[in-house]
Symmetry: C2
Subunit: 325 residues, 2 copies
């Protein structure tokens, strides 16, 4: 099996972005990645993160380019560079102002998750016991994301809010980095009804390699790839992709920030990074993952779709927006 011509796109990474991290992605033959640039940040702090991204990209033009379209990703592939889509794992960056969607879209942000772990102005999240569904403000955010062409991500979102968003969206949506609960039972993974509604709406789910959503470091490549194959059987080859959730270059303080944010005292939820499986400890191992999919019986064309083709199709469709100028 050759990986040379395969365009690999990763549905989500949340690394501590610098040149070595980007080179690791490049070494894995990964061309496109949805790179998280905000989790708990409000508008002002998000601006700073984006400013730093511009600087990083400008200082490493041989390795990385900031992409705003599927076409930009294809172009980066031709020069062997990593195309980064700026993405949010929360809508905190929009504050309470729906016009911020267009503002951040203009800055290059192309993906935003509606909630991150806890309820916010937009809706309910995966770790909260009750989910009120998509709020009135959330509907405006959703409509605005549809209009300007920003992909809605449901990975850390509550199930009821996810269903609401799918029902109301004028565009297909994504679960960029989660697995089915039938593979591993976790609030971060998705029940069949959410996955099937997503698929009926034309969406894509990125199977996730984060240890806590696969069942730990000892889960085998065979097991993970068999899950991908089974999911393809369930929902069709056009709707399954990969979202690694790689988090390279961070210390434990950062995972504490992810868990506790500013919504509970630092250290409330003790946090250390989990150990990753030896067969996928970082983005350099994407080719080995493709081999695993081959071993699981997937045809080359199916592997192309899962490793990048499905994200590219979804990006092309969603990033066009619904507004006819």
């Amino acid at each position: 099996m050759s990986t040379h011509d395969r365009l690999i796109v990763d549905g989500l990474q949340i690394s501590n972005w610098d040149r070595p991290v980007l080179q690791e992605i490049q070494a894995g033959g990964v061309t496109g990645v949805n790179a998280t640039c905000a989790v708990w940040e409000g508008p002002g702090d998000t601006l700073r993160n984006i400013g730093r991204w511009y600087e990083l990209a400008r200082q490493n033009t041989d390795v990385v380019t900031l992409a705003r379209s599927a076409k930009d990703i294809s172009a980066a592939g031709e020069t062997g560079r990593v195309a980064v889509l700026l993405g949010f794992q929360n809508t905190s960056s929009f504050g309470d102002d729906y016009t911020m969607v267009e503002v951040f879209h203009n800055l290059g942000v192309r993906v935003a998750q509606l909630t991150y772990n806890i309820q916010n102005l937009v809706g309910g999240a995966c770790y909260d016991p009750d989910d009120s569904g998509l709020t009135r403000f959330g509907r405006n955010i959703l409509a605005e994301m549809n209009r300007v062409g920003m992909l809605v991500d449901l990975s850390h979102v509550g199930n009821r809010t996810s269903r609401d968003a799918i029902d109301l969206s004028a565009q297909p949506l994504a679960i960029t980095h989660s697995n089915p609960v039938w593979f591993f039972d976790s609030p971060r993974n998705k029940p069949n009804d959410v996955i099937e509604a997503l698929v009926a709406r034309g969406g894509v789910i990125g199977c996730c390699l984060y240890p806590n959503v696969i069942g730990g470091e000892h889960v085998t490549r065979e097991s993970f790839c068999a899950m991908v194959a089974e999911l393809i059987e369930q929902i069709g080859v056009d709707h399954v992709a990969i979202g690694s959730d790689c988090a390279r270059g961070w210390d434990d303080e950062f995972v504490g920030w992810l868990r506790n944010g500013r919504w509970q005292p630092k250290g409330t939820q003790a946090a250390t990074w989990p150990a990753w499986p030896a067969w996928f400890s970082g983005p350099a191992q994407f080719p080995a993952l493709a081999e695993g999919l081959c071993d699981a019986g997937l045809a080359d064309k199916a592997i192309d779709a899962v490793m990048g083709g499905n994200w590219m199709r979804l990006f092309e469709q969603v990033f066009a927006g619904t507004e006819t100028a």
Copy 2:
């Protein structure tokens, strides 16, 4: 004299932007305007102002379009709409972070004044008694503005800082809305050495109609237009333009905000809007201004240059940026 084919561009307006204000500009046959969207705001509040601008533009597409280039302005002219360049009258929107220049450039901001009335992180201002010159941070802001293609405005800037900026700039600069001190002596107007350095660097000065920088409401159209003609004699027809400083739709509270900001207690500087001359009380009177220039002896070609052509040439040159990608 026909104004039908003349592209009119206004170097600066700071109105309370809404549909009637835009229609007034349209009624004056004005195609391009540098519209102030931040004066004392930091990054976060500036984002909100820009978000509101996007909304206003989207809701009034028959009257206005947000322009990012001279070409966009020409295109707006063909459909009789007002092309707005978003502009800052301060560098407060960049906070202490030079990467914000590219961030706001990506949002459509094309003009930024280095200081507004008082010294800031970037340099000295026109109303402060001492001017330390362009700071080290100011040099980075200047270089970044040159690189991305954002016009440097010196109107409210101190004279020493202005000279420094002119000396160090890789691009021509502008004084978007000031007059020569020889016409009316005010800290807001410019001495010959600053004007001549600006011109030597290829820049443009927009003669300003704000009552406080012309000598009040009783100054005649003849007197103002004679000043324009004399300035053309002094520095050449390619370097003189108009920056009306129109401030439509505001109450006195806003002029208090302009004067006092948050840097001194509200009301420290009592503020009311000055009365405008009857011959130029708003942007609808641009055609009458052109007639005044004709009466002052300017040829049609010279009037074209002053009323818009010079801004267009400068915009085209500066907005291209200095970075070769």
